[in-house]
C-alpha cells in the first residue's frame, strides 16, 4: 500500500509535469506499477482466468482443479522469483545502470522477485484459510 502511495505521487508528478520526463523513467515506473499491483490484484482475485471448463466440473473435481490451478501459479511465481532474484543479484554485482539517465537498476529489478514472493504468500494464506474454511464447513455438516 505504501508502494502504491509512492507510485501515485510519482504518477501525479508525471501528470503534473509531463514534458521532458524521460522515456526511461516512465518505463521504470511502468514496471514498478505492474509489479506493485500484482499481489493486490491477486489478493482481491481479479486476475483473469478461463473457467468455462472448470464450471462444468463436479464439486470434488472443481476442488482438485482449484488446487491444481493454485499449484500452477505457485510454480510460475516460484520459478519467476528465483530467476528474477538471480537477474537482480547479477546486475547488482556488475552495477548495471540505465542507458541514458544512468540510474542504478538493481533496486527496480528487486521489485520483480519480491512481488512474486508476496503473491506466493497470498496463495498459501488463502489456501490455508480455504482448507480451514472447508474443514469448518464439513464439520458443521457432520453436526447437523
Amino acid at each position: 500500500m505504501t508502494g502504491l502511495v509512492l507510485v501515485s505521487t510519482l504518477m501525479r508528478y508525471l501528470a503534473g509535469s509531463p514534458i521532458g520526463f524521460s522515456d526511461e523513467l516512465s518505463g521504470l515506473l511502468f514496471l514498478s506499477l505492474s509489479f506493485l499491483s500484482l499481489p493486490h490484484v491477486l489478493n482481491t482475485s481479479q486476475h483473469i482466468r478461463i473457467d468455462m471448463l472448470v464450471r462444468t466440473f463436479s464439486p470434488r473435481l472443481a476442488v482438485a482443479a482449484d488446487i491444481f490451478a493454485n499449484a500452477i501459479f505457485v510454480a510460475f511465481a516460484g520459478i519467476f522469483a528465483y530467476e528474477a532474484w538471480d537477474f537482480m543479484v547479477f546486475s547488482l554485482q556488475i552495477g548495471s545502470r540505465s542507458e541514458i539517465s544512468g540510474v542504478l537498476l538493481w533496486p527496480w529489478m528487486a521489485l520483480m522477485p519480491l512481488s512474486m514472493l508476496l503473491c506466493i504468500l497470498i496463495i498459501v494464506r488463502n489456501g490455508l484459510q480455504g482448507l480451514s474454511g472447508r474443514d469448518a464447513a464439513s464439520s458443521e455438516e457432520g453436526l447437523s
Binding site: 522515456d23 506499477l33 499491483s37 481479479q46 482443479a65
Partner: protein
Amino acid sequence: MSWAILSAGLLVFLGSGAVLGAALGLTGFILLHFQAGGASALAINSAWNLLTEFTLSAVPLFIFLGDILLASGVSTRVYNGLTPLFRRIPGQLLHTNIAVCTLFGAVSGSSTSTAAAIGSVGYPELSRRGYSPSMVVGTLAAGGTLGLLIPPSLALLIYGATQNVSIGKLFLAGMLPGLLIAMAFFAWIMVRSSLGSSVSPPREDSMDWGAVGRGLLEVWPLPILIFFVLGTIYMGIATPTEAAALGVAASIVLGLTWGDLDLEKLWEAFKHASMMFGAIAMILIGTVILSQAVSLLGLPRAAVDAIAGIGLDRYGILLMIVLVYLLLGCFFDGISLLLMTLPITFPMVTSLGFDPVWFGVIVTLLMEIGMITPPVGLNLFVLCSITRNEVTLPDAARASLPYWMILLAAVGIFTVFPELILWLPNLL
C-alpha cells in the same frame, strides 16, 4: 516435440482455470528449460524489456484517464449528449466505439493502447445504458485493431524499416483499407442490431433535433480532451506517453471544475485503475515469456519453411502463408510475430511478384487478426480485464468473431483487388 508441449501445456494449464498469465508463463518456462537448453533465465530479460519499454507506458495512463472521466461524471455527460444524435441508427452508441477508435488510431501506433484507452471509458458507459456487454467488447476489440492499420502504425513502421520499403508509401497504403474496414464494422453493427437478439436499448423513430442540439452542447469537453491527447501528438509537442499524461491532467482539471470530482474520488479512480492495470500486467508477463520461448525455438520459421517445401503456385503459397499467420496468431500477436516471420515471408512473397507495399498492409491485417484470436490475444485480454471479467475470454472471443471474419474477408478482397491498397501510394 516443442509444438506438442506448447499445445498440451496451454490446454491443461488454461483449462484448469489457473491465472491466465501464470498458465502462459509456466508453459513458456517449460519450453525454455526443456527445449531450449535451460534458457529459463531469458524469461526475466524479456519481461524486464517489455515492461520498461516506453511504448506500453501509455496504457496505464489511459486507463487512469478513463477512470477519472468516469468518476467525475464527465464521460456520462458526454455520452448523454451524444445519445440523441445516434437515436435512430441501428446499434446507436455502439458506433461511437468504432468512430472513436478510428480517430484514436490516427494518432496511436498501437492497437492495445487504443483498445485500453477507448475501452476504459466506453465499456462502463455503454453497458450501464443497457448495451449487451459482449457486443460492446466485440466492437472495442475490433475498433482497437484499427490502430495498427491507420497511420501512424507501429507495424508498418517496423515493416518498412526492416524490409527497406518506403514508410511514407506504407502509411498512405494503410489509410483506405483502414477506412473501408471501419465502414464494414459500422455496417455489421447495424445489421446485427437490426436482427436477432437485442444488443442495444430500444430505438426511437423520431429525431428530436432540439435534443440533438442540447446534447451536443454537453459534448464540449470532448474536443478539449481530444486536443490534449491527439493534438499535442500531431503538433509534435508530446510523445504518446506524454500526451496520455497531459490527458490525465486535463481530465483532472475538467473533473474538478465541470464534473463532480474530488480528491477521494480521484484516489478511488487511481486505485481502480492500478488494479485493472495489474491484471493486464500479469497477462503481459505471461505472454512475453511464452513468445520468447516460441521465438527462441524458431518455431515460426520452421512453420514458414515447411510450406516453402510443398511446391504450390503463387496464390497457393500466399494462401498457405495466410494460414500460417492465422495459426501463429493463436499464440502471438503484434510486433513479435512480425519480426519473427518477415525475414522469411517477405522474400517469399515478393519473389512471387506481389507488391512489397501491398504485402505490408496484408501482413498488418493478419497481425490485427492475431490480436483478437484466442487463446493468446492481447486485445481480448486487455478488454476482459477492463470489464473485470464480466465478459469472459470465451465470450469476448465469440463476440469478436464477426469482426475477425470481416478482417479475413478483407485480406481476400485486397488480394483480388490490390488496387484498393496501391492506388493511393502510387499517386505519389
